[in-house]
């Protein structure tokens, strides 16, 4: 049996679970969401990524029902949810502060939503036990929120928001309060839980690593607009703008003037007295058009001897070395003063490496290593 790739966004017959149609949200004069259109599909793990104030939290709060839409409409499973109050939406939210009820025990917190649905006691008991098991907190059912750790509280909040089996779960910076190590473990746990429950997750985060790890698709936002929506790999490898390339991971941006030099191949004149850079691009650039070449540091090789047959080759001097343990990032200053970052994996022990500060080095990359961007 062949494994089908989960990509409902590529199937034109697939109906989205959530549909933003030309949604605009204004607070007074301030435009928080600007004419935004977006489809999110069932069982997706969708990440809204952007700097603070980009409108990602507003989008989430509109889905939960805490903010109204100024213009446009939001559909959930084909129905306009504009007039539906928060308590009647099949949407649950996990709050950034967790918002656990301090006067109720872990068990009562998880049962809170179920009790509102007037379910029978047996049903509530069974569902709460199931949720406690899912987040591995069976032993803590009788504790109050202030008697458990931050990581446990996070899991209670998750269990509480999942208890009513919502069509859509919203997670507002769910891992923001956890320390780095715990955050990484929890990311995988979140993905497992998302898979087991089959719930659609929409996560808001400003942490690009987190978005890349957990999400099936990432929407990069800025100033109330979506700049790009794509899978994490596509966002990283094929950003559609300098903003996205710069926001996700580390990147070198080289500005220049493009000259077509063959089929989908361009020469980029980027500095006086330097040879033009050869790069390929599927987007067309006209003769003399301004272009930005975005190239990731790990795609640039660095060596102390001149490599043979490299397409793009530049000489420079090592300015700085950022030693990250598994990786080292070299900041190489070119004769014109530009600084290019090159990254290598530290596969050898430190004593065997031969490049150090002030060393003259060669940096090189292939024609397909970078992405040419208009803006």
């Amino acid at each position: 049996m062949s494994q089908t790739v989960f990509a409902p966004w590529d199937d034109p017959n697939e109906k989205p679970l959530i549909r933003f149609q030309n949604v605009t949200k204004r607070f007074g004069d301030f435009v928080a969401i600007d004419d935004l259109t977006l489809d999110i599909f069932a069982q997706e793990f969708f990440a809204l990524l952007g700097p603070s104030g980009c409108g990602k939290t507003t989008m989430m709060r509109m889905l939960a029902g805490f903010e109204t839409v100024t213009e446009g409409r939001i559909e959930l499973a084909g129905k306009d949810i504009g007039p539906v109050p928060p308590n009647e939406r099949a949407v649950n939210m996990m709050f950034q502060s967790y918002a656990l009820f301090p006067h109720l025990s872990v068990w009562e917190n998880i049962a809170f939503g179920l009790k509102r649905d007037r379910k029978s006691k047996a049903e509530i008991d069974a569902r709460v036990d199931e949720m406690l098991k899912l987040v591995r907190l069976e032993k803590f059912a009788r504790r109050k929120p202030h008697q458990i750790s931050g990581g446990q509280r996070q899991r209670v909040a998750l269990a509480r928001s999942l208890a009513k089996a919502p069509k859509l779960l919203l997670l507002d910076e769910p891992l923001g309060a956890l320390d780095k190590k715990l955050r990484q473990d929890t990311q995988f746990e979140l993905m497992d839980i998302q898979e087991t429950t089959g719930t659609t997750f929409v996560i808001v985060t400003h942490d690009q690593e987190e978005a890349m790890t957990v999400a099936s698709r990432v929407a990069v936002m800025d100033e109330g607009r979506i700049i790009q929506v794509a899978t994490p790999a596509a966002i990283y490898e094929y950003p559609n703008s300098v903003y996205v390339a710069d926001f996700i991971g580390d990147v070198n941006i080289i500005q220049g003037i493009a000259t077509p030099s063959g089929d989908e191949s361009y020469a980029l004149n980027w500095a006086e007295g330097q040879p033009p850079i050869t790069a390929t691009s599927q987007t067309k650039f006209a003769e003399g058009q301004k272009a930005h070449l975005a190239i990731r540091p790990e795609k640039i090789s660095i060596s102390s001897e001149k490599p043979e047959g490299a397409v793009n080759l530049l000489q420079g001097k090592v300015l700085d070395i950022a030693y990250l343990g598994n990786l080292s990032t070299y900041h190489v200053a070119l004769p014109g003063g530009q600084v290019i970052k090159a990254q290598t994996a530290n596969t050898r022990r430190i004593a065997r490496r031969n490049i150090t500060w002030e060393d003259p080095v060669w940096i090189s990359w292939t024609a397909t290593a970078g992405v040419m961007l208009e803006q």
Partner: protein, 291 residues
């Protein structure tokens, strides 16, 4: 040594300002009324031995014989209890509104709550006499509006006492409730709605239980002074309102029966010990919960 001195300060304070006066009052309550200055016997001038021999519980027995006193105690308890509930009903919405108000308004609103303290309590009670009397502002306004043809008789009734107590002690109710509500994370209310509560349900299931400590603290701060209240019932309540504070005052100044007045005061204090202890326990529990 320094620690002992530090602990000593509050105890000396209590001894001088609370325990010593209480013992004096207790001693007077065990004495007999006399036509003398001071108007009771025995005094220290009679010598310690005679003093101890002459003291008895006669006045306390007298309090049980005349039904005026226990009726006054019960009536005070009832008035204090009802006024506390009324103050809570008026104060909670105000505190809630303050906690929900935009940040830039809060300092002003807080100021407005505290502002009445800037004038004398007595003057404010007299002002209420002007408002509530038969020819007062309220009746004039209602007549002018055509809502009533005969003036409402409010002054010198229990209603006026309730109005006076609610008005006077309102800030004591508002401030602790506001403090409790202000600390509440707004997302708790949203979480309740998100999980299926209507706004009303969210209020009763989340906001009220989480402001419980403020409600309890505010209620005690109103109930305790209202129980022994004397100025408000004597100025606004007229002769029909029976409150122990007023009885005490009359016993002391009109009858010049210091020993009976003191006995009334001692019993009042014993009654007040119960809510004060409960209040202290609530405060302590609250502090423990915050740690």
């Amino acid at each position: 040594m320094r620690r002992a001195a530090l602990i000593l300060v509050p105890y000396v304070w209590l001894l001088v300002l609370f325990l010593a006066p209480f013992l004096i009052v207790l001693k007077i309550s065990l004495s007999d009324a006399a036509l003398a200055i001071p108007p009771y016997a025995p005094t220290l001038k009679d010598g310690i031995a005679a003093l101890i021999r002459e003291l008895d519980f006669e006045n306390f027995v007298f309090l049980t014989e005349d039904d005026l006193y226990w009726k006054a105690y019960l009536s005070s308890l009832r008035i204090a209890l009802i006024s506390t509930v009324l103050t809570l009903m008026v104060g909670y919405p105000i505190a809630y509104g303050m906690a929900k108000a935009p940040d830039e308004w809060r300092a002003t609103l807080m100021m407005l709550v505290i502002l009445p303290f800037w004038t004398s309590f007595l003057i404010r009670v007299y002002a209420w006499m002007g408002i509530l009397s038969n020819e007062g502002l309220l009746n004039q306004l209602l007549t002018w509006l055509g809502l009533i043809s005969e003036p409402l008789i409010i002054l010198n009734t229990t209603t006026a006492v309730y109005i006076g107590i609610v008005y006077t002690y309102l800030p004591f109710m508002i401030l602790p409730i506001y403090a409790a509500l202000d600390r509440l994370d707004a997302s708790l209310d949203e979480a309740a709605q998100d999980l299926g509560c209507t706004r009303t349900q969210a209020f009763w299931l989340v906001t009220i239980p989480l402001s419980r400590n403020g409600i309890v603290a505010g209620s005690f701060l109103v109930f305790i002074p209202a129980l022994g209240e004397f100025v408000i019932p004597s100025l606004l309540g007229g002769s029909g309102t029976l409150m122990i504070g007023k009885v005490l005052w009359e016993e002391f100044f009109n009858n010049r029966d210091w020993p009976v007045a003191s006995a009334v005061a001692v019993i009042l204090l014993l009654i007040l010990v119960v809510p004060i202890v409960l209040f202290q326990r609530n405060q302590q529990k609250q502090q423990e919960a915050e740690q």
